[in-house]
Amino acid sequence: MINERNLPIFATLIVFMMLYGFGMYEYRGFRDTLVFTNLLTDNAFLIVTAIGMTFVILSGGIDLSVGSMIAFIGVLMAYLITSLGLHPLAAIAVAVLVGTLFGAIMGIIIAYFDLQAFIVTLAGMFLFRGLAYLINLNSVPINHPFVTALSDIYVPLPGRGGLTFIAMAMLTLLVIGIILARRTRFGMNVYAIGGDSHSAALLGVPVKKTTVKIYALSGLYSALTGVIFAIYTSSAYPLAAVGVELDAIAAVVIGGTLLSGGVGYVFGTFLGGMIQGVIQTLITFDGSLNSWWTKLAVGGLLLFFILLQKGIVTWAKRRTSPT
């Protein structure tokens, strides 16, 4: 039985399947599993960031710093590996730790100084990009055998497709995210704060501590994205992932999460990210659009699917509303 609260997710799922079905109908190449597994790999970085962002948005906040964080972590990792000669695993550990810490610091400023998340994380966005520039202006290759080995992991599937390390990492992080959101006290606290932070405090939710944890978690997920991105491209670049924050927010919101907080699911975010990926894939498969038509098509398809999703939700609500 479809619960009323699950409706947006079902709507998103339907939209995704319609979109994918259209691709299969229109382009022969789309029918390979390759296209699907490519979607998983190519959108892994977006989805992982968006999972962290989901928690932030569920709590009624926003994190604009994720794109810069990805670049910063990548550059930091490259610096640790190539200049300091650290083993990639150690470098990853350090980088992830630094990312989480920076996230937590933003959380502390937001929670304990009562400042708006939007602008604190905007400052974070400037700061991390700036720090990335300070470490390194150039793009640097990361040519460590370990990193190459990771990016070469590949579990082939029938139909030309296959799961890369990145895709598997993303799926793992997705499962962790889902469990964290629905099956832990932390997750429930996030929903409560997003629903009504004043009431949450009166109900005994440690609002400030949880807020710090939320931004630390978002820092962690975007730092992991930085790592994934570095493995994906075997390199680091201070200008990487510009504007990913907006894509991530869009993925979260398309996935049915309310920007005002309190309502939404991590799995929806996954679908939201995949929908964005399919839109892009469709446009490249078409391949006849010039630069401006590409932009119009991205915007137009986004609009179309949001409206479609809204329509499905309204329609289903009318049908399942209580008697």
Binding site: F118, Y133, L137, W293, T294, L296, K310
Partner: protein, 349 residues
């Protein structure tokens, strides 16, 4: 004895109380002054103003001049934020209105006023589009305007066919660069727009309705405020402001750069409104302070440019100063400070 001490403390406290009452307004202004002061110390001559051919010349004028487009956009943004919305599309609208201005000037023999009207009209159209998505279709503002943010630049490029279209028009050039009564004309335009907006907001009930809708839509609807219409108008206004800014920016470089005009300007505009004390959760907005917020951001940019700092440090410095300004403004910091202050008072007593 006791009485005497009491009057003493009231005397001391009363200016502090006054400060307390206007703290919200003071924080951004003090931040601005501090940044100006520090810059003046680092870069001598920063505050220097000269009169050349009847107009003022100097970095301070540059700040006003450069801050104008952002200020106009921020004005519209503040209004939208008041309704618990956000408008990410302003950069794209700037590109569209710039493109319209340039293409109409080059390809038609429309008089300038008509060109400007068309450009403003394109902005209103964009605002209408956003407003309909938000208030009629109930799409969350950030996504609704994200659509135009992406597609809008495509539209602008389509209009200019991907080229930077340069044009020559004395009137537009005057709007972009010339002076009137010692100040740039565009500063006068912005000033007029800001004043008119403030007067309309405060002298009619529009401001009240806007803040009411932003703070509690359900309650506002129940007292008979047409919330939808109001939200729609807020986006219309924001589109109008962005278009105005687009004309100025195009006039500035005498060309329309569909790809880069107003890029990331939305973030500066939001930042300004928030520095002024607006909450993204809707409610109270402070239009005049928003302009102060813009000046803070622009002073920072201009100061970094004149300081001779290598380009890669720009962002770190900007981030650090924004954080500092934020912390200064945080009521929590004030609380901490006033606690310290009180302690000191106790010691001295």
């Amino acid at each position: 004895m006791l009485e005497a001490t009491q009057t003493m403390t009231t005397k001391i406290m009363s200016p502090i109380n006054l400060l307390h009452k206007h703290q919200k307004a003071l924080a951004p202004i003090i931040s601005l002054l501090l940044i100006l002061l520090v810059t003046a110390i680092i870069t001598p001559g920063f505050l220097h103003l000269r009169m050349i051919d009847g107009h003022l010349y100097g970095s301070l004028i540059d700040i006003l001049h450069r801050g104008t487009p952002t200020a106009i956009v921020a004005l519209g943004m503040a209004v939208v934020i008041g309704t618990r919305g956000i408008d990410l599309s302003v950069g794209a609208v700037i590109a569209i209105s710039g493109a319209v201005t340039a293409v109409l000037t080059v390809n038609t023999d429309f008089p300038v006023w008509l060109v400007i009207l068309c450009a403003l009209g394109s902005g209103l159209l964009c605002g209408l589009w956003n407003g309909i998505l938000v208030s009629v279709f109930n799409i969350q503002p950030i996504v609704a305007t994200l659509i135009l943010m992406v597609a809008g630049r495509g539209i602008a490029q389509m209009i200019t066919e991907g080229q930077i279209v340069t044009f020559h028009s004395d009137t537009l050039n005057a709007i972009g660069n010339e002076f009137f009564l010692a100040f740039p004309i565009r500063v006068w335009i912005a000033l007029a727009l800001v004043l008119i907006t403030i007067v309309i907001m405060r002298k009619t009930a529009l401001g009240l309705f806007l803040e009411s809708v932003g703070a509690n839509v359900r309650a506002s609807r129940l007292v008979g405020i047409e919330a939808r219409l109001l939200v729609l108008s807020a986006y219309l206004f924001s589109g109008f402001c962005a278009a105005m800014s687009g004309i100025i920016l195009a006039a500035d470089i005498r060309g329309a750069d569909a790809n880069n005009a107003g890029l990331w300007l939305e973030l500066d505009a939001i930042l300004a409104a928030v520095l002024a004390g607006a909450s993204l959760a809707g409610g109270r907005i402070y239009l005049a302070l928003t302009i102060v917020g813009v000046l803070i951001i622009q002073t920072l940019t201009t100061a970094i440019l004149t300081s001779g700092l290598p380009a890669q440090y720009n962002l770190v410095v900007k981030a650090a100063i924004i954080l500092a300004v934020l912390l200064v403004q945080s009521p929590k910091t004030r609380q901490l400070l006033s606690q310290l202050f009180r302690k000191n008072m106790d010691y001295s007593a």
